[in-house]
């Protein structure tokens, strides 16, 4: 009975604590100048350091989409430009943001949770508070802002590299000449598509960093607790990223 009760109450309690954490984080914004030194460092960790793996994953996503589209759709009755018409919107609308999101959930989310979790179990967060510092303002606000700023940058890079990767594989693999790929991409281009992708990337950036901060900040239970928080941060970020993806697609498209 107690187990059933916990299954119901724990998610509600977690949501309440997460909301309170965000409330305190927004409350710390007026004194952000004190914590802004951390922002640049976090932007480097979250954005710049993630660039190589994001670009690699995006290039392969674009390339695989090209090959699969060619396999499924290209017949003598369908023009080869259809490959560009599918690869470019796929990257801009979905893959650019989602692939980047999954990579950041694993790479950045786990890092944030492990970092804050270790600080919690070694009393470094208590030390910050005991000095009279707002630990949420100092640790969480710069990480979330860095995520919201850098995710769209990574998204743009992922789209560019993904579409280019798809085009290159199409051209050099003999699936579609570069000119036809570009023609196809242009033909079905909607100006709202990149705006939608950018909105998604803002939401994903916020979701991943805030959930990971929450999991790390409230870590308990020593080294095992840090491991648990790190795993939960990556898993929860992925789950809520998919949920946000669906909600945004259903409401904005």
């Amino acid at each position: 009975m107690a187990r059933i009760r916990n299954t119901i109450t724990e998610p509600v309690l977690a949501l309440g604590r997460y909301s309170l954490l965000l409330f305190h984080a927004f409350g710390a914004l007026p004194e952000f100048s004190r914590y802004k030194k951390n922002l640049w460092e976090q932007m480097v960790h979250i954005g710049f350091d993630s660039l190589p793996i994001v670009m690699l994953a995006a290039a392969f996503s674009g390339a695989v989409t090209t090959v699969q589209t060619s396999y499924q759709l290209v017949t003598p009755l369908i023009p080869k430009s259809i490959i560009g018409s599918i690869v470019a919107p796929s990257m801009i609308l979905e893959l650019g943001a989602v692939v980047t999101g999954f990579i950041l959930a694993g790479r950045v989310g786990a890092r944030i949770a492990a970092e804050l979790g270790t600080m919690r179990v070694t009393e470094q967060i208590d030390a910050l508070e005991a000095m009279g510092l707002n630990s949420i303002g100092y640790l969480i606000v710069p990480r979330v802002i860095a995520g919201v700023i850098m995710f769209p940058v990574l998204y743009v890079a992922a789209c560019f590299v993904g579409i280019t990767g798809g085009m290159m594989v199409g051209h050099f693999g003999g699936f579609v000449p570069m000119g036809e790929f570009v023609d196809g991409a242009r033909e079905f281009f909607q100006p709202f598509d990149p705006i939608f992708g950018l909105i998604k990337s803002f939401v994903f950036g916020f979701t991943i960093t805030s959930i990971s901060c929450f999991k790390g900040y409230y870590t308990a239970g020593g080294a095992e607790g840090v491991g648990r928080s790190t795993t939960q941060a990556a898993v929860a970020s992925c789950v809520f990223l998919l949920l946000a993806d669906l909600i945004l697609a259903a409401t904005l498209l």
Binding site: T122, Q124, A130, M131
Partner: protein, 246 residues
Amino acid sequence: MIQVQNINKQFDDKQVLFDVSVDIVEGETLAIIGRSGSGKSVLMKHIIGLLKPDSGRILVDGTDINAISYGELREVRQHFGILFQGGALFDSMSAFDNVAFPLRTFTTKSEAEIREEVMICLNMVELPDVGPKMPSELSGGMQKRVALARAVSLRPRYILYDEPTSGLDPETSNTIDALIEGLAEQLNVTSIVVTHDMHSVLNIADRAAFIYKGRMHWTGTIDELHDSDDAILRDFVKANEYQIGH
């Protein structure tokens, strides 16, 4: 002056503190003693507002720290320095930056003034050369001494020590005790030392407060501790390999 008045604290189903009261007088060194798990560290965290009591009050210079805003509480905390059990040095910063951190955060001093102040603090703990080292490169005792330098960098009025000698060899423990005693005199601070190390208590404390199973069982001066015939207190002291009166 710090006044702890009738505080109770429960975690989940377990009551940790029962109606605990104690006064800490300006300028004294009070040792809070008791077995592991008796509630000493929980009491210390209440004193700085890191934990809120279920009932009761903590007054710092007459201000109830649980009845003020978070911003006001942070101002009160700036009068405190804390030495955590593991040191709690920021592991992403060098020893120098750890000590400089409160100065850079809470003062408008120039980098040159901060450098000078950090060196004074590191000299106080007799570690003038460790500035460039990272916490992971320091021994446990050295980490605690750097953490102590950080705790005193803003010249607090109160210093809280959480098990300052636990896990240290007897010689290093004596060094830490001497530092605590020296800082109390040099800086004229009020010190609260949470410990179960009776050797340390006898070296540095003016008074002791004994917590037993979450209750404030006994308080008195060190002389009164020697003369006490309280059976539970005597058992605790004996278990620490010290015979009262010797």
